[in-house]
Amino acid sequence: MSAHLRVNPIACQAHGICAELLPERIALDEWGYPVLDPRPVTSELMAYARRAVADCPTLALLITED
């Protein structure tokens, strides 16, 4: 089982906080919207990923387990 990031692009308002909290997996495009790294979120990164999910003002960032 591996964890991946997903963004709800309708909810996302380009606050950019996620990219600050998880630069290992999230970059911002030229318009300030997150570009997600498709690689899984490793266990070392999980705490930071959860923080990024929790701190998104529009709750647009998700961690999916598959």
Partner: protein, 413 residues
């Protein structure tokens, strides 16, 4: 469709039943019960004709047996270059409605919604005719859908039919999980249901008697551009693209490229395209897809870049405006393409456009940005030579009439 060409006028119910015969409803018997029609559809290898080409039986199984499911006939063709579903609903509404009723019966739905553009039509008349004849054990309702390109996207359609604006939604949930008013919903393209109605009557072997083993059956194709008789033609899968254009009376002038699949499709150079068999695998190998079955011939006298730029601008304007990368990215892409097609020293713009094209892909709730990026990327590739000439200061001569159709109220620049 259905045993050779018939009259190009609305076929009344009596004539329809005389031509095709009636059909048997078997019903969804519950979990573990035989699903004869779904099995036949699976053996037939029927896939969706709305653009995505998803296996129809799989979609049906996902809905079958869920609580109070709904069947939606998607006849709201958003693609300006496609006319097949509108034509089908006009001249063979009963074949589509048969398919909808059969599909509803097979998955245990009592309700069918027909989603289309425009007001009173032969589809409305056909529904009334069936109700008067007491033909169907399910209710059929016709709903008019907004004209916007994204409105006929599956999730947008489901949302609209639930009383909200016709805008795509974030998935999951998918319509089979939570669709119209929260109920499990089977959304099928109108043409797909017409094929299903024929499979129910004649069986999967009959369906497979045309086409190829991997791409069985036939499809409706809207042929346009520089052809003698633009229109909708039925072709077997595997037919060479050249034959599709011959069916439309052949070319009116030399042709440089073919747009395959419509505005979410791809441009191919004419010499590549014309020899290709019309199958998903062959088109995919060439970098294209059948999409909603559009084939447009671009005459040598037209400028592929200018034509593409006009459509890209329209597509950018058709963004639902919900997702940032689409709302901001597509106008930026269209503008870059406009700069490139005007010519001059534009190396930086080209790099920026390439980056933006890869940047928007997969970043919308629906596939609008992906389709638009694919279309523009294929234009850059197919018209690379023109692009180089434009950059050396030799733009194409202006053409009087654009080849690629757009709705009347839209234009681009």
């Amino acid at each position: 469709m259905a045993g050779g060409p018939g009259p190009a006028r609305p076929m009344p119910l009596a004539e329809h039943l005389e031509r095709h015969g009636g059909f048997l409803l078997q019903g969804f018997g519950g979990e573990g019960a035989p699903t004869m029609l779904i099995d036949a559809v699976e053996r037939a290898g029927l896939t969706g004709h709305g653009g995505a080409g998803f296996p129809t039986a799989r979609k049906m199984r996902a809905v079958a047996g869920r609580r109070r499911p709904v069947v939606v006939v998607n006849a709201a063709e958003g693609e300006p270059a496609s006319h097949k579903d509108a034509l089908l609903m006009r001249i063979r509404p009963h074949l589509v409605l048969d398919g909808a009723v059969l599909a509803a019966d097979a998955v245990g739905a009592r309700e069918v919604i027909v989603a289309l553009h425009g007001g009173p039509s032969s589809a409305h008349a056909a529904v009334a005719e069936r109700a008067a004849a007491g033909l169907d054990p399910v209710s059929i309702q016709v709903v008019q859908v907004p004209k916007e390109y994204v409105a006929s996207e599956e999730s947008a359609l489901v949302r609209f039919l639930s009383g909200a604006p016709a805008l795509p939604t974030f998935t999951p949930p998918r319509p089979y999980e939570r669709g119209v008013n929260g109920r499990s919903t089977l959304v099928q393209n109108a043409e797909t249901l017409a094929h299903l109605a024929l499979i129910a009557r004649h069986g999967d072997q009959w369906f497979r008697s045309v086409g190829t083993p991997e791409a069985p059956g036939s499809l409706l194709v809207t042929v346009g551009g520089a052809v003698q008789q633009p229109g909708v033609y039925e072709l077997a899968f595997g037919t060479p693209l050249k034959t599709a254009f011959e069916a439309a009376g052949g070319f009116t002038e030399p042709v440089q490229a073919v747009l395959v699949g419509g505005y979410f499709g791809a441009w191919l150079p004419a010499e590549t395209a014309l020899g290709l068999p019309l199958t998903p695998a062959d088109l995919k190998a060439a970098g294209a897809a059948i999409g909603a079955g559009v084939l447009l011939a671009l005459p040598a006298s037209a400028c592929g870049l200018g034509e593409s730029q006009r459509v890209a601008t329209w597509l950018a304007n058709q963004s639902a405006g919900q997702c940032g990368p689409c709302t901001l990215g597509l106008p930026a892409i269209a503008e870059d393409l406009a700069v490139l097609s005007r010519g001059g020293k534009t190396t930086n713009v080209r790099h920026r456009l390439d980056r933006r094209l890869s940047l928007v892909e997969g970043r919308g709730a629906c596939h609008h940005p992906d389709g638009t990026a694919r279309f523009v990327a294929s234009a850059l590739q197919t018209f690379a030579q023109d692009l180089a000439r434009h950059q050396r200061g030799n733009p194409c001569p202006p053409t009087r009439h654009p080849v690629l159709p757009l709705p009347d109220d839209a234009g681009g620049s």
